[in-house]
Amino acid sequence: MRSIICTAAAIAMLALCGLEGAHAQVRAKAGVTCKPGTEKLQYDCIIKLANSKTNEPLSGLTLTVGADMPSMPAAHNVRPVGAAEDQEKGTYKARIVLEMYGDWALRLDLSGPVRDRVVKRLRFERDRVGETTPARAPGRHRH
């Protein structure tokens, strides 16, 4: 049994060592604006992707949009949907359907020429979508 565990541990360590690779060059940043759609819990989002260093729009990518509810990790998440690229460079459109109203972390997964993930936290309400307002520590409010 000990030898099995040692072998398994060795495989896990090898897997970990094998995961070191070349560093990616481009990091993405995203601006996300969403508005309620025609149906309940449906939202239409416009996502603007750009190179975080040069601010150049990132186009020609495959973008999927998923959502997780931070207060319930791994419990409430939305199946990722594909985003269609708009005519404007670096602009994508996606329609998501959430499970409930509240704070959601939108997970933007980029693949293709640039592979990256950007997470944006938004508050989805019945009639509007806005920034989340996390509970701040006393004396550390931002104005």
Binding site: M1, R2, I4, I5, A8, A9, I11, A12, M13, A15, L16, C17, L19, E20, G21, A22, H23, A24, R27, S52, K53, T64, G66, D68, P70, S71, M72, P73, A74, A75, H76, N77, R79, P80, E99, M100, D103, A105, R107, D109, R115, D116, R117, V119, R121, P134, A135, R136, A137, R140
Partner: protein, 319 residues
């Protein structure tokens, strides 16, 4: 494999670590509502190690586990004398304290012109190790399950060892175990340390899987779930909590029609099982029966002198 399926399987694997950590404490008879604290500590520690200090992932995960384990030992020592409800409340209070501390915790440095690091209630973004190192989702999934396999093998060894018997003995009757010469304090702190380390590894994997953590992720809901997985899946074997995770994240996740009602169904399932099967689906009796059946049909399991009565004696065969 479909990206969504990889995501769900990754979630099942990562959450299994915290489920196993709560299960280990359940074996020693303690109900902890605070395992999410060590999961959080592991997530932040491992995330800081790779994103801010540039450590390799393997070292960062070990670091997360070590910090999680050390924190659990530090909590375990003063709560040694507490039992049942009092221990549960103490662990819950500690977890909330940790969560609020992370809401205050700011430690950011500029990397490539960008501020990176924990930013209080705004969370910790850009834990980008898997993207910076071109690790795809499937490779990371394999890593999660390789580590989970190691942990499960460790549990198999533990269950067959003297230490595992002592843990169950303490869980059954602490006074009786003490009268048998078992050092209760020593073994309870050891169990707390191991469970904290397990949650720490899970947290480290979670942070690198999602690339983003925030204090709200580690609230009481996660602690309740981690405990419920063991109670649903069963306390007879380490596969029990994994079954619990599989039922919650796997089965309920796949029934999308249930959508927002999943939590209600999950809560109802926990309540129902606590009434009809208080020690879960894979309780000691079921595990014993499966083991007996396996020994009957398997030529490898028929080994002379194999003592199979310990677990049954310890549990008294009760459900």
């Amino acid at each position: 494999m479909d990206d969504y399926l990889i995501g769900v399987l990754s979630n099942i694997g990562v959450i299994s670590f915290i489920a196993l950590s709560a299960y280990l404490l359940l074996l020693t008879g303690e109900i902890s509502f605070g395992q999410q604290a060590f999961f959080a500590i592991g997530a932040y520690a491992a995330g800081i190690a790779t994103a801010l200090w540039g450590w390799p992932l393997a070292l960062a995960l070990v670091w997360g586990a070590a910090i999680g384990g050390a924190a659990a030992v530090l909590v375990g020592i003063p709560t040694l004398r507490l039992h049942g409800l009092y221990f549960a409340i103490a662990t819950l209070a500690f977890a909330e304290m940790v969560r609020i501390l992370f809401e205050l915790f700011r430690y950011q440095i500029t990397i490539d012109g960008e501020l990176v690091g924990p930013d209080g209630a705004d969370g910790f973004r850009n834990i980008r190790y898997i993207f910076d190192n071109n690790i795809d989702a499937f490779q990371f999934l394999l890593l999660i399950y390789a580590l989970l396999a190691v942990v499960l093998l460790g549990f198999v060894l533990l269950e067959r060892s003297r230490l595992g018997v002592i843990f169950r003995m303490i869980g059954e009757d602490e006074t009786l175990a003490g009268l048998q010469g078992v050092s209760i304090a020593h073994h309870k702190v050891l169990a707390a340390g191991i469970s904290g380390a397990l949650a720490g590894i899970g947290g480290g994997l979670y942070a690198h899987l999602t690339t983003y953590v925030e204090p709200r992720i580690f609230d009481v809901m996660l602690g309740v779930h981690s405990l419920a997985y063991g109670l649903i899946g069963g306390l007879g074997t380490a596969l029990g909590p994994l079954l619990g995770v599989l039922i919650d994240i796997g089965v309920l996740e796949s029934i999308r029609a249930l959508s927002g009602y999943r939590m209600i169904i999950f809560g109802g399932l926990v309540a129902l099982l606590l009434i009809v099967r208080p020690r879960g689906l894979l309780d000691e009796n079921v595990v014993h029966k499966i083991g007996r059946f396996w020994r009957r049909i398997s030529p490898w399991a028929r080994r002379p002198g194999l003592n199979t009565g310990n677990r049954n004696n310890l549990t008294g065969g009760r459900p």
